[in-house]
Amino acid sequence: MTAAASAATTTTRRFGLGPMERHNLRWGLLFISPWLFGFVALSIFPIVYTFYLSLTRYSGIRAPVLVGLANYQRIASDPLFLKSAYNTLYYTALAVPVGVVMAMILAIAMNQKVREVAIYRAILYLPSILPVFAISLIFIYLLNPAYGMVNGLLGMVGLPSPNWLGDPAFSRIALVMIAQLGAGQWALVFLAGLRGIPIELYESADIDGAGPWTKFRHITLPLMTPVILYDIIIGLSLGLQVFTSAFILTGGGGGRGGGAGPDNSLLTYVYYLYKQAFQFGQMGYAAALSVVMFVVSLILAGAVFRWARGWVFYEAEEA
């Protein structure tokens, strides 16, 4: 803490800040100091360490052997790298927008004059607190092609019943479906956003004779854009790292199988990374995969922020 404070002082002098700014900088850094420390120990150090490992051949036990850029060259010619990256992007590109729409619909429904809303709120949230382990196991049964409840429901409305996990055309969609169980939690976030929209806006729109769609399009949607952006960013980070559900749905990648979904369709990037690190003893290669993933993730996040500038209503920060 003293280090942070003195660092703060030197910085202020250098930038010639007034006493108020100096005071603010000192206190600002003091308050965020737990994160700063954690950031250095838990983020900076692992990033640097991982980057170093990515330049080595390393099993996790013996001393790492420097191999230069060999791991990166190997990535360039590794078909499973492309496959897993494709699967992950496919999943993310599907799961994030579907999640936003689901959450928005549920939130708007909950925001209407529905007296028993507390019940819906609770039920919709429940799956969010089930351990992913249990959820995924349950889904293996729900998705059973012949006997599962999902296909039973589809059959009732006359839809075909897919072989969800055994057919590469459907396995990734099944993964997206499971992720949607988190929509209840997001619906609450959206609902909080909806409740924060000032009534006055709707009232004046009513006076102007605006219909429900116009109100949604010109009041609700624009004012919800920061929430949507938040959902997209978090969804992006979770989507790019999707692993557990794929891991369990494919039987754990243990001794029985080794495959990750039909035609490797459930081999997500982190799944592949995990296999390299903990099953094949290729920690150096896994580190290189991590570095590539981190860089690509940041570029994607940056792109989303840039794109969002065109449609997000930014709040002016107070305080």
Binding site: I32, W35, L53, A109, V114, A118, L130, G196, F313, A316
Partner: protein, 309 residues
């Protein structure tokens, strides 16, 4: 920007106002609530399906639980599955471990994230926004390999004999202490909420001679309570359900939490399916209860941005 203006006028009470249901929809026509109900009931039916399946499987006999095709409704109720599930693993011991880890991690999350969010929202200092984006960027760190680096750190930290271990490995410390250094998700939620509190309140406190710490503690923190509850619940659920980290860090079986204990119901060629589901039901029960009591805070406590911000 317009929204900000409006927000500012009503912001003083926004945190409270948000809790009141549906004020603006007060004049919605009756038919307006039919469609939402259909959507919600259909949604709930789908969302309750896994839960229903878990509970129903938990009370089936072993023969029925493993039967194909599965029964939609249990033919006989085997309530003693819960008893059997509890006896199958050292349930009480694991429950205590889970509680200790969860309480520690939740405490850490609440203490650290409120302070960090305050620094990121209520004080203006150069570089603040830059560091905040850096903080957010860390959610994109791929965790499996970061895990390796962390394991090396924890394996070298002295534990001073806590839980009879030589290093932090095989203690609860790696599961609790990191919570004290903030989490970008929670920092973000808290920060957005604090941004929604009018600046005038801090200014008034400062005019009264309150220091930054006093302002944080006496003015801002009480107003932030809904967000604190949200972060506490999110952190508690995450700690309660965490699987991989305790599995890797805890080497002695008597230190396992319940989430890891669940794995004992599955063996390489078999699974005690009904007992696993009975145990899962028991494990989620506490968080369900906590959520039911605290759920109204979820609406108040979540502020992502925009209007209130």
């Amino acid at each position: 920007m317009a929204s900000t203006e409006i927000a500012r006028t009503s912001a003083g009470s926004s945190a409270v106002a948000a809790a009141q249901p549906n004020r603006r929809t007060g004049r919605a026509i009756l038919s307006g609530s039919v469609l939402p109900r259909i959507v919600l009931i259909a949604g709930c039916a789908l969302f309750a399906l896994p839960f229903y399946f878990m509970f129903v499987s938990a009370v089936k006999t072993t023969a029925e639980a493993t039967q194909t095709p599965p029964t939609f409704f249990p033919q006989t109720f085997a309530w003693d599955n819960f008893q059997a599930a509890v006896n199958y693993i050292p349930f009480g011991l694991y429950a205590i471990n889970s509680v200790v880890i969860t309480v520690g991690a939740t405490l850490g999350a609440v203490l650290s994230n409120t302070a960090i969010a305050y620094g990121f929202s209520r004080i203006h200092w150069p570089g603040r926004n830059f560091l905040f984006y850096v903080c957010l960027a860390t959610v994109f760190l791929p965790y499996p390999v970061v895990l390796v680096a962390l394991f090396d750190i924890f394996g070298k930290l002295p534990s001073f004999g806590i839980q009879g271990a030589q290093s932090w490995v095989d203690t609860f410390l790696p599961l609790i202490v990191p919570a004290f250094f903030g989490n970008p998700f929670y920092v973000f939620l808290m920060r957005q909420f604090m941004l929604g509190i009018p600046r005038d309140l801090s200014d008034a406190a400062k005019v009264d001679g309150a220091s930054e710490i006093q302002t944080f503690w006496r003015v801002i923190l009480p107003l932030t309570r809904p967000a604190v509850v949200v972060v506490a619940i999110l952190a508690a659920v995450a700690a309660w359900n965490e699987f991989l980290l305790p599995l890797l860090y805890l080497q002695s079986q008597d230190k396992y939490p319940l989430a890891v204990g669940l794995a004992f119901y599955t063996s390489q060629h078999d699974v005690a399916y009904n007992l696993l589901m009975a145990a899962s039901t028991l494990i989620v029960l506490p968080i369900v209860i906590v959520f039911l009591f605290a759920q109204r805070f979820f609406i108040e406590g979540i502020t992502v941005g925009g209007v209130k911000g």
